[in-house]
Symmetry: C3
Subunit: 161 residues, 3 copies
């Protein structure tokens, strides 16, 4: 009876330990960084356009789709995103960060000299599994990137919730 009790407890302990090990091993590993392009100037476009950061630098957990420029949350959780955008073009440089169809933030910088300039922003977002995060260039705006990676998009899972 006592021994049966211990066996039950040991069964439960083993199960919980396995869960915790899997959690520790798998769930927390989501991170990506991608550069924009090697092709120089991006834009201007006639309408707001999702930017495709096509040069994958890292992509653990397969959350980031470098063909679409979209990160899709593999688990519900808190995520941190940052991006840097650059250009050497006179005029406004700007980027919307979207969670699904909702703009979260806008970053805007007037380049009045035509030399290189850059801007960066970052935000922690609570995402449901399947939520998409992407960066969009407003109509008529332009960015620049080449093989030196001036413009980058990064994100990672902080913790599941």
């Amino acid at each position: 009876e006592k021994k049966g009790n211990m066996e039950t407890r040991l069964n439960s302990t083993e199960e919980q330990l396995d869960q915790l090990k899997n959690q520790s091993a798998d769930e927390l590993k989501v991170a990506f960084s991608a550069g924009l392009t090697d092709s120089g100037i991006v834009g201007p476009f006639d309408e707001e356009t999702t930017l495709i950061f096509s040069k994958t630098i890292t992509n653990v957990g397969r959350g980031y789709n470098s063909s679409a420029g979209v990160f899709t949350a593999p688990v519900t959780g808190l995520y941190f995103f940052s991006f840097t955008a650059a250009d050497y073009l006179k005029g406004y440089m700007g980027l919307y960060l979207y969670q699904n169809e909702q703009p979260v933030s806008f970053s805007l910088d007037l380049n009045d000299h035509g030399g290189y300039t850059s801007m960066t922003s970052a935000v922690a977002l609570q995402l449901d599994q399947g939520d998409r995060v992407r960066l969009a260039l407003p109509a008529s705006y332009r960015l620049y990137d080449d093989s030196r990676n001036f413009s980058m998009f990064s994100g990672f899972l902080l913790f599941p919730v």
Copy 2:
């Protein structure tokens, strides 16, 4: 005797497992992001003033007080903070990052054109439980934000120490 020994070991194993599960479930979940304001220009003030990033985007672990603009560390640990500040006003834009009453860093940018500009900074800080982190605007400086979230303050726990 042998069996008593096993029971003692199982007791201890169960306790440690519970601790580890709680640790994994609770302690590591601290993150926030907040936008500054929907009201347009902030400042200038006669003296250095703590900025109240009042628009909570995320706040897990209740470390960030959006009425005061102050993050208070719920556990002793390493934290990472970032902020972006924007304006479209000629003159200097600047922000101090404070740990308690100690300035940690200063970010400064001259806007000489009166178009939008932004600046961003980030730092990893070791905080004792109860330490406060906030951003302060120097006397006579101004910032800008509206519903598009140009100016944001974010932070999260990296790990307890």
Copy 3:
């Protein structure tokens, strides 16, 4: 026989629990931030030069060497790095981020007014144990820092892989 079986299981459970506890306690604790210098202008140099961010703000896990300006990965894993560079000098301000001898990104900003300006960038990198990450100033470029910490270099382990 049954009891022997339980003892074997308990032995294994205890071992796995210890591993998990050590993992949770040790592996995940790597983070640093450092300010550049209290001495004012850095550069220009005749050739590209690794910047020595000599003012350690935090350094858990001893990955960052503040004499060399180099972070060396203590474990194979995903790491996140950010830096902010400032100056108040007319001309180009720029920084390469290196993984070993490979430039990962370039950040560049024209200061056309001679007032303070700053730029920030961030990236998630997969590093092998022993990989080195550092920031380098191109030949003829300059940066500025003083006791207020305008220019900072930060990084932390996201997770081992």
